[in-house]
């Protein structure tokens, strides 16, 4: 579900966020229009908008844990966790294989209500792995949250049965793009 579908239609902050994200064509490989959030981080107002919108959504949802996916999830997770007063756990992507995530076993207590955060959702593979990790540790994943997401995640799209909340779509998508 996108923010515009859930009460934030016309919110000027969303346009500011979208405008602050830079598109880099053909990175990491030909055909991919990479959504570069580092330019968002250079705009303190737009960066704060991202945090504010997520905090507004999650502060009353009884979240006890924010899980940030390495490495760009580490940038967005902590400010949200600090604002809602909750703990942060980290999930690490291994460098030699792009299909494996790790989490410290002591990080999660049973029955935690977890929020998973990453900068972008494309296939949903990383977020699905994160959900698996947290559930195996006994947590309940309440929602996954991303700054950018492909349009296919509109509506009540779920990942492994969990809702997904996305702030903006990519501002440029080539026809026939595959992620």
């Amino acid at each position: 579900m996108f923010a515009v579908e859930n009460g934030l239609q016309g919110d000027p902050r969303l346009q500011a966020i979208s405008d602050a994200i830079r598109v880099i064509p053909h990175f990491p490989k030909t055909g991919i229009m990479f959504q570069d959030i580092t330019t968002l981080l250079l705009d303190p107002v737009a960066f704060k908008h991202v945090v504010d919108i997520f905090v507004e959504r999650y502060k009353h949802m009884n979240i006890s844990l924010v899980a940030g996916v390495e490495a760009r999830g580490f940038i967005f997770g902590p400010p949200i966790a600090l604002a809602i007063g909750k703990v942060i756990s980290e999930e690490y992507e291994l460098e030699y294989g792009n299909d494996r995530l790790e989490m410290s076993v002591e990080a999660v207590k049973s029955h935690e209500r977890a929020l998973v955060i990453d900068d972008l959702v494309a296939t949903g593979g990383t977020l699905s792995a994160s959900i698996n990790l947290l559930e195996r540790a006994g947590a309940e994943v309440v929602e996954c949250a991303c700054v950018v997401g492909l349009p296919k995640f509109k509506g009540h799209c779920k990942l492994k049965g969990k809702p997904l909340y996305v702030l903006v779509e990519p501002s440029q998508l080539e026809e026939g793009l595959t992620f």
């Binding site: 580092t38 981080l41 303190p44 960066f47 940030g68 580490f74 902590p78 703990v87 942060i88 756990s89």
Partner: protein, 211 residues
């Protein structure tokens, strides 16, 4: 300079006690200072950020540069609180746009830190953030990277940094003194090894250019 030889802020002990020591990680003989347990304690994490924000909020800092990956956990909250840009300094090939890089020495071989071209501009006053300092190699690479665009650190040059060798327990501090860059260390563990979050305030000498 550790900056806290006078009365220690009461929050510091709370933070120190939350750091977990993991023996023999990543290899035998190393007592790894794990700050992830600080993140699991909202008060300790908030105190950590507050201590740095209190120190830096009126220092006219326009850029907070965080070193991948644990610097990403501490840098952005500080940047947001003081209204500064956040710039990630990353391992090779992670940043999608045009980059500049600085190499630094590891125990065996070299590694490299990269930054996007255009992330910092002339006149920016930069703070560098990481979770831990040991030898100071990574932090010095960060300074050199930022400095390469003519920003601050008037006394810090690559030659001066790489020539510094010292005892393990003081190497980091010695390196930083030679750099001429002030450093704030939140906590010293066991009095031997300097750990935890280190910030360098580059005092912005606009007369110095190293382009």
């Amino acid at each position: 300079m550790s900056g806290n030889k006078q009365e220690e802020d009461p929050r510091i002990n709370g933070i120190k006690t939350k750091i977990r020591v993991v023996p023999d990680f990543p290899k035998k003989g190393i007592m790894f200072q794990d700050i992830t347990t600080v993140l699991l304690d909202p008060k300790a994490f908030k105190d950590t950020i507050d201590l740095f924000v209190e120190r830096y909020r009126d220092k006219n800092i326009s850029v907070v540069a965080g070193i991948e990956a644990r610097g990403f956990l501490f840098g952005p909250p500080i940047a947001l609180a003081i209204g500064a840009k956040f710039v990630p300094l990353r391992k090779p090939k992670k940043l999608p746009g045009e980059t500049i890089f600085e190499e630094y020495e590891l125990e065996y071989g070299n590694d490299r830190l990269e930054m996007h071209v255009g992330a910092v501009e002339a006149g920016d006053r930069a703070l560098v953030v990481d979770d831990l300092i040991a030898t100071g190699g990574t932090l010095c690479a960060a300074i050199n990277l930022l400095e390469g665009w003519g920003r601050s650190c008037g006394m810090c040059t690559r030659d001066r940094v790489t020539r510094i060798k010292g005892k393990a327990e003081t190497q980091g501090e010695a390196t930083m003194h030679a750099c001429g860059v002030p450093m704030m260390i939140l906590a010293e563990i066991f009095g031997l090894i300097i750990w935890l979050i280190n910030f360098w305030l580059c005092t912005g000498n606009s007369d110095y250019a190293d382009l």
